[in-house]
Symmetry: C4
Subunit: 198 residues, 4 copies
C-alpha cells in the first residue's frame, strides 16, 4: 500500500481540524472594541495556540511520511489514532475557552496534547516495525530529543496546572515553541541521503 492516499486523507482531516476551531470562537456580544478585547481575544490566543499545534503535527507528519515507503494496517490505524486525539483538540480548546481561568479544562487540554504526543510515538514505532532496522525514519530521527522531552514537559504542565493554570499554559506554549524552531533533522537527512525527485 502506498502512502499517497493516507497522506491525502490525513491532510483533509488536519485541514478540517485546524479551521473548525474558528467556528467555536466566542463571538463578541456587542459591536464595540471593548466587546472584542475581553473573552473573544482570550479565545483568539487559545485558537492561535491550537492552530500552531495542529500546524506542527501537520509539518512533522509531512516530514515523517517522506521517509516512509509503504503503509501496512498497523501504520494506518496508528495514524487514525493520532487523528483521533488531534480531532479532540477543538473540543478541549473550546471547553478551556468557555471557562477562562478554570483548572480542570486547562489540565484536560494538556492531557489531550499528551495523548496526541503518545499517539505520534506509537505511529513512529509502527513505522519502525514495518520497515525494520534499515528504516530511513529511524536514522533521520537520531536521538529524537524533542520527541522525548515533550511528554515530560506536558506532564509537568498537567500536574502543575492543578496548582496554577499558568504552569500548564506556560508548559503548553513552551512545547509549541520548541517545535516551532524548524526541525531540520528530516530535511537535512533528505538532502544528504536521498536523490531529489524533481
Amino acid at each position: 500500500m502506498r502512502t499517497a492516499r493516507l497522506e491525502a486523507f490525513s491532510d483533509g482531516v488536519l485541514a478540517f481540524i485546524i479551521t473548525i476551531m474558528v467556528l467555536e470562537l466566542q463571538r463578541p456580544t456587542g459591536s464595540t472594541l471593548h466587546a472584542l478585547l475581553g473573552d473573544p481575544l482570550k479565545g483568539l490566543f487559545t485558537y492561535l495556540l491550537s492552530f500552531v499545534y495542529i500546524g506542527i503535527y501537520w509539518s512533522n507528519h509531512h516530514h515523517m511520511f517522506q521517509l516512509v515507503r509503504r503503509v501496512d494496517g498497523a501504520i494506518l490505524w496508528a495514524n487514525l489514532g493520532l487523528l483521533f486525539f488531534l480531532s479532540l483538540v477543538p473540543y478541549s480548546t473550546s471547553w478551556m475557552d468557555a471557562h477562562g481561568g478554570a483548572t480542570v479544562p486547562v489540565t484536560v487540554y494538556g492531557v489531550n496534547l499528551l495523548g496526541a504526543a503518545l499517539a505520534y510515538y506509537v505511529l513512529q514505532q509502527a513505522i519502525f516495525r514495518a520497515e525494520g532496522p534499515q528504516s530511513l525514519l529511524r536514522q533521520a530521527l537520531g536521538r529524537d530529543l524533542k520527541g522525548k522531552l515533550s511528554p515530560v514537559i506536558y506532564i509537568v504542565g498537567i500536574v502543575g496546572s492543578l496548582v496554577s493554570v499558568w504552569v500548564g499554559i506556560v508548559a503548553y506554549v513552551a512545547v509549541a515553541v520548541i517545535w516551532l524552531v524548524p526541525d531540520r533533522r528530516a530535511e537535512r537527512f533528505i538532502n544528504a541521503h536521498l536523490v531529489p525527485e524533481d
Copy 2:
C-alpha cells in the same frame, strides 16, 4: 474514467464526516471533572465508536479501490450511495447521544450502520459487474466472511436493541472489533499478484 478523483472526493467526504462529529459532542456544562465525566464522557465513547467505523470504511474503501482499474457511472453512484449513508452517521450518533439510554435512537443507529453495509455491498457488486469475471477485487475478497457476517450481527443488534439497548451496543461494537482485526486479504493479494509501483 480513472479512480484517482473518485478516491480524492471520497477521502474529502470521509475526512469531513470523521471530524464533524466532534462539533456535535456535548460540551460539559461546568468546568469540573464531574461535569466532564457524565454525559460528555458517554458522548466521547459514541464518538470513538463512530470514528472507528468511518476509519474502517475509509481503510476498506482504500484497499478496495487499489484493485479497481476503471470507474463507470454505476460505480460512481454506488460510491455516492455509500457516502450518503456514512454522512448520516454523525446525525444518528448525535441523536443517540442526546438521549442516553433510549431505545429508538440505538435501534436507528444500527439501521444506519446496516444501510452503510448494504451500500458497500452494492458498490462491490457494481465493481464486479464493471470488471467482469476476471475482477481482481472478486478474487481478493474470496468468500468474504466478514462482509457476510456483519449484516447478520447488525440485524441481531437492531432487533435486540428493542429488548435491551445493550444488545444493540454490544453488536455494533462487535462488528467494529471484527473489522479492526486488520483485513489482510487485499494486502496479501496485492503483495502476491501485483507488481509494486514505486
Copy 3:
C-alpha cells in the same frame, strides 16, 4: 495552468458542501420513532435531494474536466462562480426545511438551482472560448439536450411553485432524475477518441 489543482480544490469544496447539510438537519425533539418521522424525516428527503444534486454536479464536473487540457483565469473564476451557487444549496435547503410547506423558500431553492445551472453553462462557455473550435468538450457534449432542458424545467418549477409548492418540488426532482440517468456522452466520447492513460 494545469487542471489538477482546480479539480482538487473543487473536490474539497463539493465534499464539504455535500456533507455540511447533515449539520443543518433538524434533530428529532424526542427519542421516539414518532419524533423522527415528522419534520426530521422531511428534512432527510430534502437532504437526499440536495445530496443527489451536488453528486450530479460533482460527477458532471469530473467528466467535463477530463476533456479540458488547460485552465485560464476566466475558467478559474467561472468555476468559483459555480462553487458559489452550489455553496448556497445548504442554505436554501435548510430554509426550505425550516418552513415545511411555505411557498417562498421552495421558490428560492429553485432559483438557487437555476443559478447553479447558469453558472455551469457559463463555465462550459469559458472552456469553449479557451479551447477554440476544436474543443473536445464541445464535440463530446453534442446537442446537450439535458443542459438545455434543465433551465426550462427549473423555470417551470419556480413559477409553478408560486401556485403550488408541489409543482416546484416535482420539477426539481424531475431534473435530478434526468441527470441521474447516467450521462454516457462524455464516457462514450472518451472511450472512442482518447487513448486510455493507465
Copy 4:
C-alpha cells in the same frame, strides 16, 4: 521537500474556509420574501465579498506555487501564517454581519484583510530567500504594483471606516475588484519561460 503536499493542505483549508461561511449566514426569521430581503440579503453580500477574497487568495496561491520548486520550513510556516489570517475571515465576516452598520466590526474586517495581505507578503519573501536571486517568482512578479497598492487601500479603508463605514466597504470592494481583473503576470511568464508539462 516538494510543494505538492503543501498545496494539497492549503487547498483543503481554503476549500473549508470558503464554504464554512455559509454556515454562519443568518437564516431568515420567517418564510416570506420580506424576511429574506432584510439582514439575510446583506449577509449574502458580505458572504460574496469574503468568498471572492478567498477565491483571489486561492488563485494567487495557485499561480505562486507553480513557480516554486522546493519548500523549506520558513515557507511552510509563512504559508500557515497566511492560512491563519484567512481562517479568521469567516469570524470577522460574521461579526460584521451581526452588527450591520456598526463601525468597529467593519474596521476589524479591514485589519483582518490587511493581516492576510502582510502574511502573503511574508510568504513571498520566504520564497525569495529560499530560491535566491534567480527566483522565478521574483522575475514573474516584476514591480508587483497590485501587491504594493493593496495594503495602502486597506489602510485608507481601515482609517476611513472610523469616519464612515462606507469608506471601509468601498475600499475593501475596490481591492477585490483590482485583483479580480485577471492577473496575467504569472500566466504570461509561465507561457513564455517554462516548457509546458503535459
